[in-house]
């Protein structure tokens, strides 16, 4: 019994420190990454999803703040691959603009239509509309049109997880080979998580995903309020 109490007190001590959660996060990620490679890069064996399943614990976030913090610098670091592929981006300027406007509109309108079909409450609907933009932008838009920002955060991350886990199936089904197009689709619809997935497979795909993430953040923050006004007129 004494042994058990001692173990418990060690656990209480450790779980209050970031070290434990940081080690756990990196460990779970490595397990996920190992399984992902073992499965010959099968998209559903997603290292992020596996880590989430291993960890899921309420008090986790406090301890893992440092890893979360690195998201900001990593976003800034995306400037480097974009810089390296700047010529290709300039060359594909036309297809980028057309796909951006079409994809962004489609994401918003299809979400709206599906919400109508499934009879979703207005407040939840408004929280869902900007979900393809990166989380901080989506939350700002939701706030503007009367959604609930914290609900938007959850739905936006879910969008990212869905895109990162299932997106490549859609791309393979359509037999798309163009790495810039594959990346752009993933980044546009599923922002950071989609970009991370694209980046882990191919640098060109990653660059175009990062580009789509940035551009769709801007497009969504213009289109959602605009469509929302149109909706109120009718």
């Amino acid at each position: 019994m004494i042994q058990k109490d001692k173990l418990y007190s060690i656990w209480v001590y450790l779980q209050a420190e970031p070290l434990f959660w940081l080690t756990l996060t990196i460990g779970s990620y490595l397990v996920g990454d190992y399984l992902y490679k073992k499965s010959k890069l099968f998209p559903l064996v997603n290292p992020v999803a596996i880590s989430i399943l291993i960890i899921s614990y309420e008090r986790y976030f406090e301890g893992a703040k440092f890893i979360h913090f690195m998201l900001g610098p990593a976003t800034v670091a995306l400037a480097i691959p974009i810089y390296k592929q700047f010529k290709l981006i300039q060359k594909e300027a036309l297809s980028i603009s057309v796909s951006l406007v079409t994809g962004s509109l489609f994401a918003i309108i299809s979400t709206f239509a599906l919400c109508e079909i499934f009879k979703i409450d207005d407040q939840v609907l408004f929280s869902m509309l900007p979900r393809s933009a990166t989380a901080p932008i989506a939350m700002g838009i939701a706030d503007l049109i009367g959604g609930i920002p914290s609900l938007t955060a959850i739905i936006t991350i879910l969008t990212g997880i869905m895109g990162a886990s299932f997106g490549t199936f859609a791309l393979d089904f359509l037999k798309l080979k163009d790495m810039s197009a594959r990346g752009f689709g993933l980044g546009l619809a599923s922002h950071g998580l989609g970009t991370a997935r694209a980046m882990s497979r191919n640098e060109t795909a990653g660059v175009f995903a990062a580009l789509a993430l940035g551009l769709n953040g801007i497009a969504t923050s213009i289109l959602v309020p605009l469509l929302f006004k149109l909706l109120n007129i009718f």
């Binding site: 992020v48 900001g72 990593a74 796909s99 499934f118 959850i154 359509l174 163009d178 923050s221």
Partner: protein
């Protein structure tokens, strides 16, 4: 490595400050990304060894950080999964809507882009 980390943090800081100053809705790190990109393009004109050294340092450090981009999403992912109950009885419907709409958006966007690129390359 250390100098590159300084450069990256500095640009993020600059982005956060500008966001606050102009009360923009774009996230600070995204503004930092744009500023760093502009700086890199601008620095192309200067080919001194000091500039090149710093640039190479930033390039290799960034590649290193980006190779672990997925890992950085684990904390927020856990947070979301722990708060799924927040969606109450809408959970299943929301999951279905998000799934369908996201997959179709990815497919449509990439399909369109590949077709246009092919047309342009033919000419």
């Amino acid at each position: 490595m250390l100098r590159a980390i300084f450069v990256i943090f500095f640009f993020q800081l600059l982005g956060e400050a500008l966001k606050k100053f102009f009360e923009m809705r774009i996230p600070g790190p995204v503004i930092g990304l744009i500023l760093l990109l502009i700086a890199l393009i601008f620095l192309k004109r200067f080919k001194t060894t000091a500039v090149n050294k710093l640039k190479n340092d930033v390039l290799s450090t960034s590649n290193y950080i980006l190779s672990y981009l997925s890992l950085l999403f684990v904390p927020i992912g856990v947070g979301v999964v722990m708060h799924l109950s927040y969606l109450e009885n809408n959970l299943f419907k929301v999951l279905v809507i998000v799934f369908i709409s996201t997959i179709l958006t990815i497919g449509l966007t990439a399909f369109l882009m590949e077709k246009i690129n092919k047309q342009i390359n033919k000419k």
